[in-house]
């Protein structure tokens, strides 16, 4: 065990330029991956902000009695997906309207009586804010007596839903491409460092080192490279995002669990890269030895001179 750790540390410092390159490549890969993750996180954030604004207004017929309104309110509250209801009286509606319009708007003075209907504001739970559920809920509410009309922005919700779906699709494709390409690039870089020491692997194999002994130093080295690379890129990403957030509000950086995930991803990248490289390198060394030796080609059957 002492040897394995010693070797990993030695390998790290002996091949400084290779270590440097590997860490650099991992840093860049993770940085791009992190940009992608942070981009996704921000996209989700924007979607959430948009979805938060989805609400359903149930307009009531005029001349409903207080008991009828109370009953209706209770009936709506029992529908699956309804999180909260809030009654808004005619007067309150006018009050809100005035607030939005600024007090002495000429439009207001045109009204002789209050033209606004009373309504019930329905908050729908997050999970039910899809076009299908919203339609279902609104249809159920329509069946109750005393309901004049329902408004939940059905047109733009369909649009929003479509945009979210497209964005998710692009995001997943991008995610796959970025993940695969970083694995590929890191794998190839680490392979160079392993191949630079194939002589050593060859001799270890010859003197009877077990595969664990041959592979572990490289794997540990790979994990350490991954750790350094991901730490550096996380720091870079963090400073980039703190800079951006001073210019654009509402931009969020990765939360702590995503940051941990990034570092973890870097280590996984280093691990898989080195594991695959060293396995491949050993197989190739063994394969080369099994190929035909240099010399004349002989054919069967052959005769002895």
């Amino acid at each position: 065990m002492i040897y394995i750790i010693q070797e990993a540390v030695k390998g790290f410092f002996k091949n400084k330029s290779m270590s440097f390159i590997t860490i650099g490549i991992i840093t860049i890969s993770i940085f791009i991956f992190g940009l992608f993750i942070a981009g996704t996180a921000n996209m989700l954030n924007v979607i959430k902000l948009a979805e938060d604004r989805i609400e359903m207004i149930v307009y009531l017929k005029d001349n409903l009695k207080a008991e009828e309104i109370k009953l209706l309110d209770e009936q709506i509250a029992t529908i699956l997906g309804v999180q909260q209801t809030e009654f808004v009286s005619k007067e309150q509606a006018l009050e809100n309207f005035k607030k939005e319009m600024s007090e002495n708007s000429p439009l207001l003075s045109a009204f002789e009586s209050n033209p606004l209907p009373a309504s019930i504001k329905v908050t729908v739970s997050m999970a039910y804010k899809t076009p299908e559920y919203l339609r279902e809920i609104s249809e159920k509410i329509k069946l109750f007596s005393g309901v004049e009309d329902i408004d939940y922005g059905s047109e733009w919700i369909d649009d929003l839903d479509r945009i979210i779906k497209i964005l998710f699709f692009i995001d997943i494709i991008l995610g796959i491409i970025i993940t695969l390409s970083s694995v590929f690039v890191v794998f190839n870089t680490i392979r160079l460092t392993v191949y630079a020491r194939r002589e050593q692997i060859d001799i270890m194999d010859l003197v009877g080192a077990t595969e664990t002994y041959i592979e572990l130093p490289y794997i540990i080295e790979g994990i350490v490279h991954g750790l350094f690379g991901s730490l550096i890129s996380t720091a870079l990403l963090y400073s980039l995002f703190s800079f951006i957030s001073t210019k654009i509000p509402n931009v969020i950086f990765l939360n702590s669990s995503l940051t941990v995930f990034m570092v973890f991803f870097g280590m996984i990248l280093g691990f898989t890269g080195s594991f695959m490289s060293v396995k491949q390198c050993m197989n190739e060394i063994r394969e080369v030895k099994r190929l035909e030796p240099v010399g004349k080609r002989k054919t069967l059957p052959r005769s002895v001179k």
Binding site: K14, M204, L206, V207, T210, E211, R286, P293, K298
Partner: protein
């Protein structure tokens, strides 16, 4: 100790490296393996430490059989076999001491034993004084001695030497041969491949002749090479 039973080895389909080889190497025996390049010497040697496996037939080495050995048993077998090559196969970035100690380090030897055993092996090949030198600072003969030290440090039952003097000057060659004899007298069997037949006359070992993958009477090879003179 080592037994070849009807061993055939084909590279690809029509390329015969070994052709029905039956051979046994006994404990403590000194063996020469002679034949031209391409006669199958290296193939035969690689089969002993199970780098290569027979296409047909079987080989038994120290209780392991090529037909039944598992991948994870191969390292255990190799710890009982020392191997040296024409090109020494030393690690250029390590000094003599580390090159020799390497064989112990990577096989999980106790840390406290490594120093003692390494110094002993270096003393055995008379290279103690150069323990801090790097391979590029040594002559071919000296490098081969270091390789021998690495090969015998685990006290193998056999030392396989594939053209050990191929890259060594005459003086170094004499040293290497003396060293091999000395190792042999301590009970380690030796299998030395060579096509320098002048090395053979001086010794009393068994000679194995190989031509086109077949075992032949070594005298035939001498006759062929020297037109009947031995």
């Amino acid at each position: 100790m080592i037994n070849f039973k009807n061993v055939y080895k084909y590279y690809k389909k029509d390329w015969v490296a070994l052709n029905n080889v039956n051979l046994s190497i006994e404990k403590g025996q000194f063996n020469y393996l002679i034949g031209r390049s391409g006669a199958g010497k290296s193939t035969l040697m690689k089969m002993i430490y199970m780098e290569l496996f027979p296409t047909e037939g079987e080989i038994e080495v120290a209780g392991y059989n090529t037909k039944s050995i598992k991948q994870n048993e191969i390292p255990m077998l190799r710890r009982k076999i020392g191997v040296i090559f024409q090109d020494f196969k030393l690690l250029k970035d390590r000094n003599v001491y580390d090159n020799v100690a390497f064989a112990l380090q990577v096989t999980g030897e106790k840390y406290s034993n490594i120093r003692k055993k390494t110094l002993e092996a270096l003393a055995a090949v008379k290279m103690s004084h150069k323990r801090n030198s790097f391979p590029y600072q040594l002559s071919g003969g000296e490098q081969q001695k270091v390789a021998i030290a690495r090969a015998i440090i685990k006290e193998p039952f056999i030392l396989i030497a594939d053209e050990p003097t191929g890259n060594v000057d005459p003086e170094g060659t004499r040293d290497i041969l003396e060293l091999l004899f000395e190792i042999n007298t301590r009970g380690t069997a030796i299998l030395m491949a060579t096509h320098d037949y002048s090395l053979i006359k001086k010794s009393v070992g068994k000679v194995i002749g190989l031509r086109d993958g077949k075992l032949v009477n070594p005298d035939d090879i001498f006759k062929m090479e020297f037109g009947g003179q031995q």
